[in-house]
C-alpha cells in the first residue's frame, strides 16, 4: 500500500505552531495538509484525548483542552486536511516528503513546507538515570493528562523550568500529588531579570496561579538543588540530591537522600531540528533558545527557499510564541505562493511574534541551564542509552579524535541506536567540547540521515516496487 498526496503547503507537526500556520495559510487561500506522527492532533501543548475516551463534561477539562478545541475547530472549518499517524521520515528531492502511515509508505508533494516539529526534553545524565521509574516531565504529563494513568508511588519532580509546575498541576488534579519539587535555580538568581517582566501581565498572572495552586496543595518547592544520582535494584528506589551554586556545581557535604518511586526530571527543551536539518536548512547554535536552531528571515523562511520553520523548532519559547510564530509562518508561506496577504496582517503577525519571543527569552534566561549540571556525569555514567556508551568512552574518543562529534559517534557508536541521538546528542556535543576545550559550534552536531525514525524495511520495499 502506498500514500500519494499533492498540496500547496505541507505543515509538519500539529501542535500550536503547525495548527496556527495551517489556519493562517488556509485563510489566505492555500490548500494545506498537516502531517503529524501522533493519532490525535494538538502536539504536546494541546494534546487531545483519544477519541475512544468519553468526556461527560468538556467544561471540566482544563484550559489546554478548550484552547486546543477552539484552534482545531477553526483549522477544520478552514478546510485544512489533517493527516494523523503520519511520520515524515525523509526527503529526497526539494518539495517532497517521504511519509509512513502505519505500514504504508508514500510521498507528499508540496510547493512549500512548514516545519513545525516542536521540541523534546533536555535530560542531563546522572548515574542511574536509566533505571525504570526515572521519566521526563513531558512523559509524566502525557500519562496523567492524556492517558489518565498516574505513575506509581512517591513522585518527585526535579530539573528546572516552569514546565515542572505545569506537570505538578496535572499530577495534583489527577490525585497523584508529587511529594516535592526540586528546582535547580534560586529566586535570588532570578531577580536581575525582574525589570524585563514589565508589560507581560497575562503571563505573570498565569505563573502566579500555578504557584498558588501548588502551594495550596501543600507541595513544597525546594530551590538550588539537583539530583546527582539515582539508585535502586531493577527499578528506582531513591535519589541523592545536592545543593548547587549559581553555576550548578554541587556543593560538597550537602548530600541528601530521598525515597522516590517515580522521578520526573528535565532541564527544559531542545528544538526538534532533525527534519529541518535533513531539508538542508542552515542552523546556528543558540544556547538560550535550546541549542541548534534553524536560521530564518523575518517571515520565518529558512535558508532553503520555500521551507519555513516555526514554533519550538525555531527556538524554545513556549505555546504563545508557537501560536504567534505559526501565524506568521503561515502568512509568509501563503505570500511566497503568490497569494494575497495584506501588509498590515504581516506587520501585525511580526509584532505579535516579537512580543511573545521577548517573554519566551526572558523565561529561558531565568531558567538557563547551569553549566555545572554536566559535572555530575562521571566517567562511569551512561550517556547513550540505546548503545550503552559511557561518558568515559566519549571523553576518550574526544581526546583521541579531536573536536568532531561525528568522529566520536563513529568510534563509540553513541547516537547510532534507535533514538538516533535525540536523547544523548546534546550531551555528547557538550562532553566533547569540554574534553577538547572548544566551542559547541566547533564540535558540530550529529549528522542526520533518513529514515529520521526507524521504519519498517518491508514498507519501503513496497514503495520501491510501485
Amino acid at each position: 500500500m502506498t500514500v500519494e498526496l499533492d498540496t500547496d503547503i505541507a505543515v509538519v507537526g500539529a501542535g500550536p505552531a503547525g495548527l496556527a500556520a495551517a489556519l493562517a495559510a488556509a485563510g489566505a487561500g492555500a490548500r494545506v495538509t498537516v502531517l503529524d506522527e501522533y493519532p490525535e492532533p494538538g502536539g504536546q501543548f494541546y494534546k487531545q484525548l483519544s477519541s475512544e475516551f468519553s468526556v461527560p463534561e468538556r467544561a471540566r477539562l482544563d484550559d489546554d483542552y478548550t484552547k486546543g478545541d477552539e484552534l482545531l475547530a477553526a483549522v477544520r472549518d478552514a478546510g485544512v486536511t489533517l493527516s494523523p499517524e503520519t511520520l515524515v521520515w525523509g526527503s529526497f528531492e526539494p518539495g517532497t516528503l517521504s511519509v509512513m502511515q502505519g505500514h504504508a509508505a508514500g510521498t507528499v508533494r508540496a510547493r512549500s513546507i512548514i516545519v513545525a516539529s516542536g521540541a523534546y526534553e533536555r535530560v542531563v545524565a546522572f548515574p542511574g538515570w536509566d533505571l525504570p521509574g526515572v521519566m521526563t516531565p513531558g512523559g509524566v504529563q502525557t500519562l496523567v493528562k492524556n492517558q489518565q494513568v498516574a505513575p506509581r508511588g512517591r513522585i518527585v519532580l526535579g530539573g528546572s523550568g516552569p514546565f515542572l509546575l505545569a506537570v505538578a498541576k496535572s499530577l495534583i488534579a489527577a490525585g497523584a500529588k508529587p511529594a516535592v519539587i526540586y528546582e535547580a535555580t534560586r529566586p535570588l538568581e532570578w531577580l536581575r531579570h525582574a525589570p524585563r517582566l514589565w508589560g507581560h501581565w497575562d503571563r505573570i498572572s498565569e505563573a502566579l496561579h500555578y504557584r498558588r495552586l501548588i502551594a495550596a496543595a501543600g507541595v513544597p518547592v525546594r530551590f538550588g538543588r539537583i539530583v546527582v544520582r539515582a539508585e535502586g535494584d531493577a527499578r528506582l528506589e531513591r535519589v541523592v540530591l545536592m545543593e548547587c551554586d549559581g553555576e550548578g556545581r554541587p556543593i560538597p557535604g550537602t548530600e541528601q537522600i530521598e525515597r522516590v518511586d517515580t522521578l520526573c526530571i528535565g532541564y527544559g527543551f531542545v528544538p526538534s531540528v532533525q527534519l529541518a536539518r535533513l531539508l538542508g536548512c542552515t542552523h546556528r547554535y543558540e544556547l538560550r533558545r535550546g541549542g541548534w536552531v534553524p536560521e530564518h528571515n523575518e517571515e520565518m523562511e529558512s535558508s532553503v527557499p520555500s521551507v519555513f520553520v516555526t514554533g519550538e523548532v525555531a527556538g524554545i519559547g513556549g505555546a504563545h510564541v508557537a501560536l504567534a510564530e505559526g501565524r506568521l509562518a503561515g502568512l509568509g508561506a501563503a505570500r511566497r505562493l503568490g497569494l494575497q496577504v495584506a501588509d498590515a496582517a504581516m506587520a501585525d503577525a511580526r509584532q505579535e511574534r516579537l512580543t511573545r519571543r521577548r517573554f519566551g527569552d526572558l523565561v529561558n534566561d531565568v531558567f538557563a541551564l547551569k553549566p555545572g549540571v554536566y559535572d555530575q556525569i562521571g566517567d562511569d555514567t551512561l550517556v547513550c542509552r540505546c548503545e550503552e556508551v559511557t561518558a568515559r568512552q566519549i571523553r576518550e574518543a574526544a581526546t583521541e579524535w579531536g573536536a568532531d562529534v561525528n568522529f566520536v559517534k563513529g568510534v563509540t557508536r553513541c547516537g547510532m541506536g534507535y533514538c538516533q541521538g535525540r536523547v544523548c546528542g546534546g550531551m555528547v556535543e557538550e562532553l566533547t567540547a569540554r574534553t577538547v576545550g572548544c566551542s559547541r559550534e566547533a564540535v558540530g552536531a550529529f549528522r542526520v540521515r533518513p529514515p529520521l525514525k526507524p521504519v519498517q524495511v518491508g514498507s519501503l520495499a513496497d514503495l520501491a516496487r510501485e
Partner: protein
C-alpha cells in the same frame, strides 16, 4: 476510573502480555495500560541486560520497545491497545536483539 472524573477511558478489552490475559481500556497506549498494571520494567538492554522502562512516553527515546503481534521494536508509548493484542515484553529475554 469512576464517573466522577472528567474523562472516562474506553471500553474494557483484553490484551495478552507474555501470554497472560490482562485488562486494558480502549484508547489507551500500550505503555499506559502496562503502567496501570504495574509493569515498570519493559525490557532489558542488549549489551548489559539492564532493566529499562518508560522514559519519554512520547516516542523519542525508544526505551519502551516491545514485540506486538510478532512485530519487534514497537514503541509501547505510541501503540494503542487493541482487543486480543499479543505483547511480548523483551524483559522476558536475557538479551534483547532489536530488528536491524
Amino acid at each position: 476510573m469512576n464517573s466522577n472524573k472528567p474523562v472516562v477511558p474506553g471500553a474494557v478489552i483484553t490484551v495478552f502480555v507474555d501470554g497472560q490475559p490482562v485488562q486494558a481500556r480502549r484508547g489507551q497506549t500500550l505503555a499506559a495500560a502496562l503502567l496501570a498494571l504495574g509493569h515498570s520494567v519493559l525490557r532489558r538492554t542488549r549489551h548489559s541486560g539492564k532493566p529499562r522502562g518508560l522514559f519519554c512516553a512520547m516516542g523519542i527515546c525508544y526505551d519502551c520497545v516491545v514485540t506486538v503481534n510478532g512485530e519487534t521494536g514497537v514503541r509501547a508509548c505510541m501503540k494503542r491497545v487493541e482487543d486480543g493484542m499479543q505483547v511480548i515484553s523483551p524483559a522476558q529475554f536475557k538479551r534483547y536483539e532489536p530488528r536491524k
